[in-house]
Symmetry: D2
Subunit: 317 residues, 4 copies
């Protein structure tokens, strides 16, 4: 984490050092050796990007237990000219840390970010049945507070926190769900698209044209008739009135895949407000396969056929 | 009907003079003053077109009582390089004719084409309850036979038959359904498309990819998701085995309407065998209106948007 | 074919003896040894049934080459209180017959029903390139006419015609498509349903509520959402105006199969006019299999669950 | 709020007195004059209900700005034998309170629950641009902390907090969105259903049978083919793996409405896991209207028709 200040070379992330977001950023090859800028929340991270302070920001978008990160989804829906350029998965494990010299039996009050607290609740109930909880603004802050006058005896924190703070690990792997994982996205200003890799994802946010029954079905048929699978569909309130939603959608495939492009055209005609968030390689690198009917060749052949018909060439039988 | 023999100026039709098909051909402005070639059936008419003997052929495709004309539908499905270039409606009325001197009370045997007989059956049963029926190969042949030694006393024929034959009309308007109408199409070799008029029809024939449940639904969704209405859907046996069908479909709109072109692309990718029969002005001249979502502008805007996304232009919100 | 005249024991069929319809009736075990009543057309056959003159009538409903038999479909759509109780397949083969002493080389004029003529056209063109055609009202009439003063030299007829008429077979298997088959149905008055066999078919005729775009799709979704496959969909003009159709539909399964009953309920609510024509064993005896989701058990379980919810029983998780 | 301890007469709510949840509970007529039991979170509230300590619990389920309340949705999805019996809307307004004697100009640090902080962020940025933020576990706790040694100078709290605490209001209506509203539900153990009122809502949670493309569409068609509108569709992670979701759905109508019951049957057959959360009067009292096709009468008529068909009664035309 050098202190270089070239914005084209700076990456923002939810800091401080030691967060899960930092762990996600460590997976980005292009970010190695560049300036890393810790920020306090998603708003600041995206502000760095839109203002040009940073070339990109790493932000959490979904957790396998908690679901979509509302702040991220709402920010991506409303801040213009952003593009997701990569996706990263970070296993969510927690440790219980304390000031050196504290034993597990001494712990009466635990400092923890509410989400981390929820995800370690069963362990804490079992091992520390009568503990109290002090909420923290972040996982790292929970740990740091122990060295900063907090009345808590221990904190729930990400593994590796001890690289940054002089704390002792009282227990490891205290998360209730050992498979918990958080999905992060790297966001930059609108830019050239990442090349299709065959294992890509396309993220969009779209509104329905009105409240007529069946509108959502109609929107989803835009994908289904082109053989485009959805890996995520979440609704978020638009915010102006109860009962009005926008939809956060992840599609299998890249905008440069013909079927995805065609589905986006159909969606654009249907929806009064579509935000294209980007096409980028999937973190799980799972290749997308489609039947021949939805292959690029099939789209090209159909266009050639149509051109021939319009030109008055004999129609093939 | 001059005897000119320039193929580019010859029109084939189900003859002889006096048929409903001739009445349809009389509606074609471009055919006025050109050579008209009477033929015996749909096969001969289309053969004239494919061989170049005629520039176009007028053939019946549907009757409001009897339904689709199978011979026409099957011929269009299997003969390559044909295009429907126009549609014409002819009211189907019948007269009962006889040799001069015959009175209605004298009629014991009626000569009639089976279809005409079926469509005048109620009148004949009521007015001539004990009549016999001799089938004819065509409506005009039924009338002509009276002057050619037929044992019949009267014939069911199209109005105007008396322009061509020395016969007396015993009764007019004897059809059971006064609104009966036959739809004809003018067919030529593959050629330049008629210009869109805003009141057009597009005819296609398509097969399903396989017998999986729901395939027909999937095909129809190709039209529905583009806002393209079907005015006709008929199934015809492919002929190789019981239970295998092709579908004869009329769509509202012209192949040069964006939504129709897009639906045809979707259909082409879906179906192993699509025959484009043509886009041409509707006989009823009823304009096709669509919501803005399916307008040409909407398609153009969506493409511009997609191009911008791919080029890395900022996405509009 | 005894002369018994008990209506409950009489079967009507398109006669005379020797027709394909008679061949279909021969497949009906219950009809063996009962009175068989030859009639002239579908109308007469169904009239025998509705009037009580016959217990049932055998009528052709579809041909693998020619498609649906319009007269049958329209009669079933409009005559009340009929039920299809069985389905039978008859291979359609033709022979060329002549008066004894006639050789193939002598044949100049051929008597044939138009449909039979169309199905032997290629053979006739090849073997008798300059023959003339006299249309007959039925296949058997074509053959019989040879012994009744017809000017024709030969006739196209069903195999076995020589059981009934003193004629010589000039050529066998002259049909253009050796796999051609006609599907017949046995029709009775509304009666107890045949038991489900696991290999059943349900026939219905339904109209759409109006001409709004997408209505057909909506109707087909009633079947699709219950996992009910269609083996036939044909449109027939209602007859009052061009462009108004009813749909003739065959569904896989029996009305006593839960999924079929449920689809019919959905259809009944949707369509202003549904005619239930019957549930009966398929001629091809092919068992219908469905995923567990559409099994009878699945329907029963769902109803039990719903009853429990309404009764205020704890909902299972 | 008497201290009566009859569980059948006790209502749990997110306390302490002064919360928005208490404001929701004040809308419940049946709760007037009964024991009200303040709890710390959704888990405790529902635990009171399942254990029988309380007759019902009031819990927040959705906010017009923040979206669905994940903890509530996840608890309802996994705790058996709960039923929503009523829905209540509470406008979300905030005041800024301080210890008596504090002026707005004195405020340097604000105590606020993170959600309340997010919803008043614009006002705080504008009026107190350099303020610091201390997170609280609840809105009332934020206010109470001021009297309990907090280093904060002011707190964001619900209106009416001054009924319970000796605090001064520095500013009213500081929420960024004046139309913000929170939707609460009253939850009891499985019990008799509330009567249909014509303006009802049915809440369910369902899983898809597998990850096959188009499964969500298939599920939504269960509602669409019965004319049942969705007013809410939210996805929540099942929690076992990234990419696996359950869907929280609100339907227009009551389980005793035929169309809703039928849609639930279809859903039950489709989904491996459906949780029925209840049918109850809508807070907005907006009557649900459907076309005749989806009326109770239409369902009853269709069943009568089917019964007649199966009984062998003549089918109506």
């Amino acid at each position: 984490m050098p202190a270089a200040s070239d914005p084209a070379e700076t990456y923002s992330y939810l800091g401080p050092a030691g967060t899960f977001t930092e762990a996600a950023l460590k997976q980005v090859e292009a970010a190695a050796g560049k300036a890393w800028r810790p920020v306090n929340n998603v708003g600041e991270a995206l502000d760095d990007v839109t203002s040009g302070r940073s070339t990109a920001a790493m932000i959490a978008i979904e957790n396998s237990i908690e679901g979509g990160v509302s702040a991220t989804q709402d920010a991506l829906a409303t801040i213009p000219d952003l593009r997701i350029v990569g996706e990263y998965l970070v296993p969510v494990n927690f440790v219980l840390v304390a000031r050196p010299g504290t034993a597990l039996a001494d712990v009466k009050v635990v400092n923890a970010h509410p989400v981390a607290y929820a995800q370690t609740h069963r362990w804490l109930e079992r091992e520390l049945p009568s503990h109290g909880h002090i909420p923290a603004t972040s996982n790292v802050a929970a740990a740091a507070s122990l060295l900063d006058g907090s009345t808590a005896d221990a904190a729930v924190a990400p593994p590796g926190i001890t690289d940054h703070h002089d704390l002792t690990v009282l227990a490891e792997g205290i998360g209730d769900n050992p498979n918990a994982v958080t999905r992060f996205v790297l966001v930059s200003r609108t830019t050239a698209l990442p090349e299709p890799t065959g294992a890509d994802k396309t993220s969009i946010i779209a509104e329905l044209p009105d409240d007529t029954a069946g509108r959502l079905l109609e929107m989803l048929e835009q994908f289904a008739t082109r053989g485009v699978n959805m890996s995520l569909l979440e609704s978020r309130p638009i915010g102006d009135a109860l009962g009005r939603y926008r939809f956060v959608i992840d599609l299998d495939g890249h905008i440069l895949d013909e079927r995805v492009a065609d589905a986006l055209l159909g969606l654009k005609r249907f929806s009064p407000n579509v935000v294209f968030l980007g096409s980028y390689p999937r973190a799980d690198k799972q290749a997308i396969t489609v039947t021949n009917r939805y292959s690029n060749e099939s789209f090209v052949e159909a266009r050639d056929w149509l051109r021939g018909l319009i030109a008055g060439e004999p129609s093939a039988h």
